[in-house]
Every structure is written in C-alpha cells, then in structure tokens.
Amino acid sequence: MLRLLRAETLKLKRSTAAYLLPAILLLVLGVVLLAHSLDVHRLSLLDNDPWPRYLKTTLTTYAMLVISPLCLLLVAAVLYVEQQADAWKQLYALPISRGKIYQSKLFLILGLLLLTTLLYCFGVLGIGWLLNILFPEYELAYFQPDYNYLFVTAGSIVLSTLGIVGIQYVLGLLFKGLIPALGIGFFGIIAGFILSTTETLIPQYFPFSFPLIAQDFGVANPLHREVLLLGMNQGIFGSISCFLVCVVLGYWWEGRREVV
C-alpha cells in the first residue's frame, strides 16, 4: 500500500491539488489575519484570555465555510489527475487489484484532508503569535492557547466531514467529468447549511449538514447535537456511518466497473 501511495503522491507533483491546497490555506489564513487586524479594538478585552474566543472563531470559520468546499475540491483534484490523463484504463491494466488502487486514492484524500486541517491549526496558532506582535493589546502573550481544544475540535470537524468525502469520492468515480460531482456537492453544502438551522430532523440525516451540527458554533440548532454513541453526537456518528456505507458501495461498484 505504501508503494501505491508513493505513486499517487508523485502524481500530485505540479498538479491542481498541489497548488490548490497551499492557495486555499494561505487565502483563509490571510482572511483570518485581516479580520482580526481590522477588528482588534472590539475583540480585545483587558485581562481576559483572548485565545478561546479566537480559536472558536477560527474553527467555526473552518467548519462552516472552508472544510466542506475543501473536501469537494480535494476529491475532485485527486480524481482529476487520472481523468485528465485518461489513465484509468492504464491503471487497471496493472497487475494490482482494483481495490488497492481504490484504497490508495482514498487514503491520499484523507491524508491531504488531515494535513490541510493540521496546517490550518498551526497557521491559526502562528497568526495568534503574529497578532500579538502586531497588536499587543490583544494580550495573547499573557495566556496559553488551549491546544487540546484546538486539536480535538479540529479532529471532530474532520470526522464530521468524512460523510461528504465518501459521497464525493463515489460520485467522482461514477461520473466521467468533474462537474456533476462538484455540482451535487455544492448544492449539498448550500442545502446542508439551510437545513442545519431548522428544527426539523432532516439535518441529522443529511451528510452535508454534519460538519455544521457536530460542533456548538452557535449557528445550527442545538437539538441536533445530542450524544448518540461512544461520546459521538449525531453529526460525527452520521458522518462516519455515511463514509463507511459510501466506501463499501464504491468499492463494490469499482470492482465491477467496465473500463471503456
């Protein structure tokens, strides 16, 4: 599997994904820095730990506005490499089982999602230190950030988007072009956002709502956040279940796909 992952990673060299990830990260972190720079006098409160507020704001931004579109683009960028080269036929004519190729691409997408989230977390901390230098009135240096909160919340945000990854991965393999999968994905994100604010039960079963209802960001209806199993709330449990179902269905379908 490592060998396959090495090959998959090499394919990303100079690809859309290779430029897309750093660009998105820099853009989002740039906006975080700009927003906090412009609003410094309203956000800074004397003798008050600014880190919880700062971390919550940045993580909410990530969960609500960044991670779902990022998942769509990541899956599309990884699959686009094969589609652009018309390489499926050559790939499946290798003496490697289709299942392993399927898994290696999925692992690459998950790895990139984790890496992006991790880099975002470090970026958020870095901007915190930078804000402290630029605007000492924030008093960020007088307090310590809650690393546990930052990384655990970021981890649960990733878990709550696994359902979207699963859906997009299967759609990306099902359709030849990128547009249908991306179109369905963006429609899903908008619908998920609207539904998560309602008091209906739909968002608890709608994968594109899961990143919004999994955390208390003050946007989604708190009704959707009850703990279901092993400390997991509906958003995370639903996301993991959706991911597993999609991955198994995709695996089954990919093994039978006729490469024309």
Binding site: L4, L10, A87, L91, Y92, P95, R256, E258, V260
Partner: protein
C-alpha cells in the same frame, strides 16, 4: 523409434518455432449495455514469438477485444486465456507479464517523461535504472525531463511504448502504436518492433493502417463487424488470395471484354478503359486473352494485380458483407 540425429534441429531454430498460443480466446462475445454484440464468438490465437497484426476498420471491435484481453471489460460469454492462464482468475499474474498501449497513451501531462515512468516503475516495482534504458530505446533520452504536455503526438506514442516496455514484458499488446507518428517515426517504431520480436517478445498490434501492418506482421487476424473473418500467417492469406489470379487489362472495348470474359453486365463500366479479370488457374490466362483478341477486343496493356493486404482485406470484408 526416431534417432536423435534424425531430428536434430539447431536450438536457435527451435526457439523461433511458435509452439504455444500466448493469447487464445474461445467463443468470446461481448455486448455493450443496450447494444447488440460488439464481438461475436471470437476464436483468437496469437502464437508465441509472433507479430500478430489485428486488422479491422474503425468500430470493428479491435479496442474492445484488447480491453477484454486486459480484463478491463468482462466478456458476455466465452473464455480468454493468456500464457495458458485463464482470465480473470489469474489476472494479476497475466498482467504482470504484459506491456500494453491502449489507444492514446495515458500520460500525466504536468509531469516529465521520467516522472511518468517513475510512477509506472513504482507500481510495477521495477528498478529505476530501467527508466533511462527505455527512454533511450524509444529515442526520448534527451527529453526525459520535459513535461509531457509539451510533447508532440509522436513523442507521446514513443513514451507510451516506453511505459509498455518498462518491465520487460513477454507480451506486448499495442493498440494503434504508430498513431500520430511521422514517416520516419513509423519506420523507427517498425524497426523497434522487429528488434523486440527478435529478442523473443510476442507482439499483438492493432491497426487500421493496412500497409503498415503488412510490412512487419507474421500473423494476421482480420476483424469485421465483430467477427474474425481471417486468422493465420500473412503467407497463408496471400496464398488464399492467389487461388484466384487477377489481372487488369486496358482496352477501349471494356463492355465487350466483360461479356467475353463472362462477367455480369454492370452500368457505367465503359466510363473507364480498364477492367479487372479473375481466373482460377494460372494456365487459364492465355486462353482468356486469346478469346478476347479473337472476339475483337484490342488490348493495350495486360497487368497482373498484386495480392496486397489491402485488396485481400477489402475482398474478405466484402465477402462477409
């Protein structure tokens, strides 16, 4: 009992004698969804050490057959054996010994030729030193670090061949490998294929360029409308055609000549001064010509017609139609 001396054949000669079918299919049938069968009861036999030309017009089913041989499609019915092993049961073992080029080469355009080969070498666990060898073999040694999006069609075809040769396969399945190549490129690829055959490789080569196949293949399969209308050596095919001797005469009395030769009436025949005639035996040619002259036909020229692949192909497919 035979004595050893009586059957002593040089080892090198023995190695050249095809003794095994590298590819064989039995009643292979394939139908795309909501379509009639694209291939029907195909019995293909590609002997070891051959350059097997797989000939057919566009849409005849060549690419579909190649995809079935590489397990990219599942047959509707029938069996496929490669190296004597059944597909799809021994898929991995079979594909490990095949190098293929399916239609246009699948290249990652943002990557260099060397990177494209490195990916294939990683998948196939091939030593990286082999990359330079195959680049040199296909004449791309100087372009190894150039992104393939800047390659011409001919360079892409060569890189596709390099990818197929990377793991030194026993069997090469090449779908239209000379597509997009200029005449000198075609000659180079032809030379390379002949060298590969001499090195003991078996090559299955699909093309609709009849003249191109004619120059290099030892065996031929002609596909028409999803059915194999001929399979055998090129000599067998030419001999089959030679069972009928063709000649072309030039005369101002085309209709009269046709009548004397016993050809059925055909409208517009006299718009030309040439007529193709066929006889079943060589010895019948003088008698025919005498009959024509006696009948008042002035003969300006008589020319035997070559039995080239193109005319044979056209004849075979016309018979099938």
């Amino acid at each position: 009992m035979l004595l050893v001396e009586e059957i002593s054949i040089p080892l090198t000669a023995l190695m050249l004698i095809p003794f095994l079918n590298m590819i064989s299919t039995n009643n292979l049938t394939y139908a795309y969804a909501r379509q009639g069968p694209t291939l029907e009861n195909l019995d293909l036999n590609v002997p070891e050490g051959a350059i097997y030309g797989f000939l057919g017009a566009n849409g005849a089913g060549k690419s579909t057959t190649i995809r079935l041989l590489l397990s990219l499609l599942k047959p509707t019915s029938g069996d496929v054996e490669v190296f004597g092993l059944a597909l799809p049961k021994h898929r991995k073992a079979i594909l490990a010994r095949i190098g293929c080029l399916i239609e246009s080469p699948a290249l990652y355009p943002q990557l260099s030729a060397r990177d494209n080969l490195t990916i294939a070498a990683t998948y196939r666990q091939v030593d990286k030193a082999r990359i330079d060898e195959v680049l040199t073999l296909v004449g791309l040694a100087e372009h190894g670090d150039k992104p393939t999006r800047k390659f011409s069609m001919g360079m892409k075809q060569r890189l596709g061949l390099a990818l197929a040769l990377l793991h030194d396969p026993e069997l090469l399945i090449l779908d239209e490998p000379t597509n997009g190549l200029d005449p000198s490129g075609i000659i180079e690829i032809r030379q390379l294929l002949l060298e590969l055959r001499a090195a003991g490789k078996t090559i299955m080569l699909s093309s609709h360029l009849l003249g191109e196949l004619e120059k290099i293949v030892s065996h031929l399969g002609i596909l028409h409308g999803g059915q194999l209308v001929f399979e055998g050596t090129t000599n067998a095919l030419v001999d089959r055609r030679k069972a009928k001797y063709s000649l072309e005469i030039q005369t101002p009395h085309v209709n009269l000549a046709a009548e004397l030769a016993g050809l059925p009436a055909k409208e517009g025949r006299d718009s030309t001064d040439r007529l193709e005639l066929q006889v079943s035996e060589k010895s019948a040619i003088p008698a025919l010509l005498r009959r024509l002259v006696k009948g008042g036909v002035d003969l300006y020229a008589v020319r035997p017609l070559a039995s080239d692949l193109e005319s044979i192909f056209l004849q075979l497919t016309a018979e099938k139609n």
